[in-house]
């Protein structure tokens, strides 16, 4: 009997110490959305359960190892008992209640995370290897930084054109894959101002590590100001081919190609600055002067002529996704990069 009392005290003490230790470590990043609140609440219960279960096994086990260890020179066998029906029933049935409790809490918390606010603002997320673009349909522009107003639910409608990606901002907790051929949805209600990063969480090829972008949670007024400004720029830009081309390029191309003089880190794709009119060396050693025909071919059929020193990683899907007009717009934009 004495053994059991000691072990119970040990277990309780161990549970307490582990739980307090874990919580004081600060295991989660700051939380910046109302969805995170519900998830952190469940996570806290999970930590209690983990601390208790760990103690429940390790405390008696360590105790037994010390107390029932064979002393030097001791011979003989242990006590002979083969089982205890009541105990077996108890440790099958009691955990069953815990399982149901946690499953219930899980379902409840999932419900919280998925609760749609009818006034939610829709933002369309486009992912391609290895680039995010955020389209604001209410305002009619796209951006490669995700600006969000605080305390308003955002409904992300997400699409991928090549492989599976996954949208994850650790501070918002929730995560959702983007699957080619369908639109997936994610609900986020930011509730903390600040700068965060969206990080692609599904392995999507070579530069998966670098598929990150800035996320800014702003006061509603600041957001509004920024959005109207972008809207004006977009309206202005859409009047010229190169303006439209810039928007298209931002969506489809600038994750790999750089328009400054330095190559982007992580992906090896030719720089666009000064591309038009220059003489490009190809993989087979020949060279070509970059003109419109060459550009069109490079976009529609990237494998036809490969630039020297680059791996042919460019998506081969643009023939399906871009219209002839759009391609002309992009070329007009490339021409302006001198």
């Amino acid at each position: 009997m004495r053994h059991f009392v000691i072990v119970s005290i040990l277990t309780a003490a161990m549970t307490y110490v582990i739980y307090v230790g874990l919580t004081s470590l600060g295991l989660m990043p700051v939380h910046a959305s109302t969805q995170a609140t519900s998830i952190d609440w469940l996570w806290d219960w999970q930590m209690r359960a983990m601390s208790f279960l760990f103690a429940l096994i390790v405390a008696p086990m360590s105790y037994a190892l010390v107390v029932f260890h064979r002393r030097k020179g001791e011979t003989g066998e242990g006590q002979h008992f083969e089982g205890n029906y009541n105990l077996e029933i108890a440790w099958t049935v009691l955990p069953l209640f815990a399982v149901f409790a946690f499953a219930y809490m899980g379902a409840y918390s999932l419900g919280e995370v998925r609760r749609l606010d009818p006034n939610a603002m829709v933002i369309r997320v486009h992912a391609v290897q290895w680039n995010w673009t955020f389209e604001y349909p209410d305002y009619g522009f796209s951006s490669d930084v995700l600006h969000l107003p605080i305390n308003r639910q955002i409904r992300l409608l997400m699409e991928s054109t090549d492989v599976i990606h996954s949208f994850w901002v650790p501070e918002f907790r929730v995560k959702q894959d983007l699957v080619p051929g369908r639109v997936t949805e994610l609900l986020i209600t930011p509730d903390r101002l600040g700068a965060y990063r969206v990080r692609c969480a599904e392995l999507c090829g070579i530069s998966h590590s670098y598929m990150e972008d800035d996320v800014l949670v702003e006061e509603t007024a600041d957001f509004e100001e920024w959005a109207l400004e972008q809207q004006a720029i977009a309206i202005e830009a859409s009047k010229t081919p190169e303006g439209r081309g810039r928007i298209l390029a931002a969506t489809y191309c600038l994750g790999c190609h750089s328009i400054t003089s330095t190559q982007l880190s992580g992906v090896a794709a030719p720089v666009w600055l000064g591309l038009f009119g220059k003489t490009e060396t190809l993989q087979d050693g020949s060279s070509v002067v970059v003109d419109e025909a060459y550009l069109i071919e490079s976009i529609l059929n990237p494998l036809a002529r490969i630039v020297h020193g680059f791996t042919p990683n460019m998506p081969q899907t643009f023939a399906n996704t871009l219209s002839a007009d759009q391609i002309n717009d992009i070329i007009a934009f490339i021409k302006t990069l001198k």
């Binding site: 083969e82 077996e88 955990p95 992580g266």
Partner: protein, 616 residues
């Protein structure tokens, strides 16, 4: 020695390399898609040639021609029998063990390479300028990371097969497996599978992780075909091996060995084999469909052709979740098998432990979608999958409670095998309790695809396989060799590996919660993970060091270990009642089961009795 090694190596590499490389040859200059089917075909031929060349199918061929061959082929004496197609389950068990250890070394080395790259943020040596096997640093990182996963999995599958092959016939008193030739075949397809897997690295690599999700895998370089083929072939080994094991346990038990008098490891093996026999097809199938999509342009998972990428994930996880129980159930069986021996007490709740293995196996079939909570699968289906997944905790809990009750009140001894058993319990417990947060959908939306998951499953696999496997090696080494392994080195191995591994897995979970994604070659320095990653890399190398010590111990113990021909551990199990090393056809005198397997401490009780032929 060097010459012999070279000859062996060539004997292993050439039969598979020649067909693989030569069948694509004539098509080499034509267009790319002409080459790919040729490589696939060549690889398949390579496997068949390999098996044929080693004479594994000779007897079947003779039978097909109507020629009888002897029931047994006597093995060559000495080490040579391990290089040929022996029919002896003990020899095959050791062949499996050695192959599994070899793969463990290869997979581990891959991990050390990319772990080194991760030691600091930014790219240090796997840079964009770096080139090897037609891949730049980032591509090579992905190939190594992906192969680390699959090579370790195959290593574990072979290690599991090793334990089941070597032990089950001994434990049930059979003279061999039910189908010795099938057994040899199951083993001999494994080396070419392993060679194919490794060849993926050289043939362009692939960047999909071991899960090979399309559309990414449908676009990956040629290496992925070799990867698919390797997994496909390794799958045959699993399926046929488990079929054999089930037949053996059903038909060949010693007299009096009723279901609940079987050693507990046999129960674990049955549960394992049921899964492997029925689920493995699905991973083969899902990879085959992607291969068909690649070479025959069929659109199973291609949305442009009406396919569905999420379907692949369902097919894939329908095997790959139950597969984790294939990895861990035998290990848990080893824990249950050895605890009574070292606690000198009966196994607490034998029937419950036996049934819990079956329960885990069964429930394991209906939880697969917990890997897909963020995948865009049906929203509402996530809830039932959460319930079923959490249910796994019940039978697993039964095991833990029973283990604690088993050592309670014992006279516990802690030589090396017992240390590894205890290590297995603690590490697997960590893996177990870090699981439920992944099962509750909302929390998993944060945890999925982070290092938290990486830490969690390394815990389950180390606790469920690596630790018990080492326990088994230390425990049954004397049975196979008649010598015992060095205790001091064994203890150093344990006390080095355990803390290093715990640091590794805790560290992984810590940074995972804070935002470290899985499968990335480089991480944002702003996250402040550099120090932790350095610690993780050092822990990785310490684990490697401890394994090196193990290998050193293995070699010197084989050469000049302390002789141990008797019942070294004072076990009740039948295999220890006869001399070590085990005689060629196991029990010269058959035995009969007359009592309970684990009645330690019950005076005068016996588990088995040898049947002495009655005098007339």
């Amino acid at each position: 020695m060097g010459g012999a090694l070279f000859v062996t190596l060539m004997r292993w590499l050439l039969p598979i390399a020649l067909p693989t490389v030569f069948s694509p040859m004539p098509l080499f200059d034509t267009q790319f898609f002409f080459r790919e089917p040729a490589w696939l075909f060549g690889g398949l031929m390579g496997v068949l040639c390999f098996v044929w060349y080693h004479g594994v199918m000779d007897d079947w061929y003779q039978w097909a021609r109507g020629i009888d061959t002897p029931e047994h082929h006597e093995d060559k004496p000495g080490i040579e029998k391990y290089f040929g197609p022996s029919l002896d389950h003990k020899v095959i068990g050791i062949q499996y063990t050695v192959t599994a250890l070899a793969l463990l070394v290869i997979g581990g080395t891959f991990a050390l390479i990319f772990r080194t790259e991760l030691a600091a943020s930014r790219l240090q040596f796997l840079t964009l300028e770096f080139r090897l096997f037609e891949q730049n640093g980032l591509q090579l990182y992905n190939s190594l990371m992906s192969l680390h996963g699959m090579i370790m999995i195959v290593s574990i599958l072979l290690g599991v097969a090793a334990m089941m092959n070597y032990l089950v016939p001994l434990l049930i008193g059979a003279h061999d497996m039910a189908f010795p030739r099938l057994n040899a075949f199951s083993f001999w397809v494994a080396p070419p599978a392993a060679i194919l897997l490794v060849s993926a690295l050289i043939l362009g690599g692939f960047d999909t992780g071991w899960t090979g999700y399309p559309p990414l895998s449908a676009k990956a370089p040629l290496g992925i075909d070799m990867f698919f083929l390797g997994v496909f072939t390794a799958g045959w080994s699993s399926i046929l091996g488990s079929l054999n094991l089930i037949a053996t346990t059903l038909r060949m038990r010693a007299k009096g060995m009723t279901a609940f008098r079987m050693p507990i490891f046999v129960w674990a093996s049955i549960a394992t084999s049921l899964i492997a026999l029925t689920a493995t097809q699905l991973i083969g199938l899902s990879f085959q469909l992607v291969a068909f999509q690649r070479v025959l342009h069929m659109g199973f998972f291609d949305p442009d052709k009406g396919g569905n990428p999420v379907l692949f994930q369902h097919l894939f996880w329908f095997y790959s979740h139950p597969a984790v129980y294939v990895f861990i159930l035998p290990g848990l069986g080893i824990v249950s098998e050895l605890l009574p021996v070292f606690a000198r007490k009966p196994l607490f709740g034998y029937k419950w432990i036996a049934m819990s293995s079956l329960a885990i196996a069964l429930v394991g079939f209906v939880v697969w979608a917990h890997h897909m909570f963020t995948s865009g699968m049906n929203e509402y289906l996530r809830v039932p999958f959460m319930y079923s997944t959490l249910l796994v905790a019940i039978p697993t809990g039964v095991k833990f409670f029973s283990w604690v009750a088993t050592i309670w009140g014992g006279k516990i001894d802690t030589p090396t095998p017992m240390l590894f058993v205890l290590g297995a319990i603690v590490v697997f417990l960590l893996g177990g309790i870090t699981g439920p947060p992944n099962a509750t959908v909302s929390v998993d939306l944060h945890l999925h695809d982070t290092y938290y998951v990486v830490g969690h499953f390394h815990d389950t696999l180390f606790g469920g396989f690596v630790f018990p496997f080492f326990a088994a090696l230390y425990f049954w080494f004397p049975k196979a060799t008649g010598k015992r392994m060095n205790e001091t080195l064994g203890k150093i191995h344990f006390w080095l590996m355990t803390p290093a591994f715990l640091t590794l897995s805790f560290g992984m979970m810590r940074i995972g919660l804070l935002g470290m994604r899985r499968r990335i070659a480089d991480y944002d320095p702003a996250l402040g993970f550099d120090n932790m990653h350095l610690v993780l890399t050092i822990s990785g190398f310490l684990i490697a060091l401890s394994i090196l010590i193990f290998f050193y111990n293995l070699v010197i113990s084989i050469k000049r270990g302390e002789p141990a021909t008797g019942n070294l551990w004072n076990s009740r199990s039948p295999e220890w009642q006869v001399v070590s090393p085990m005689p060629a056809h196991n029990y010269d005198v058959p035995f009969e089961v007359v009592g309970e397997p684990y009645d330690y401490g019950l005076a005068g009780s016996k588990y088995i009795e040898f049947i002495t032929p009655k005098k007339k």
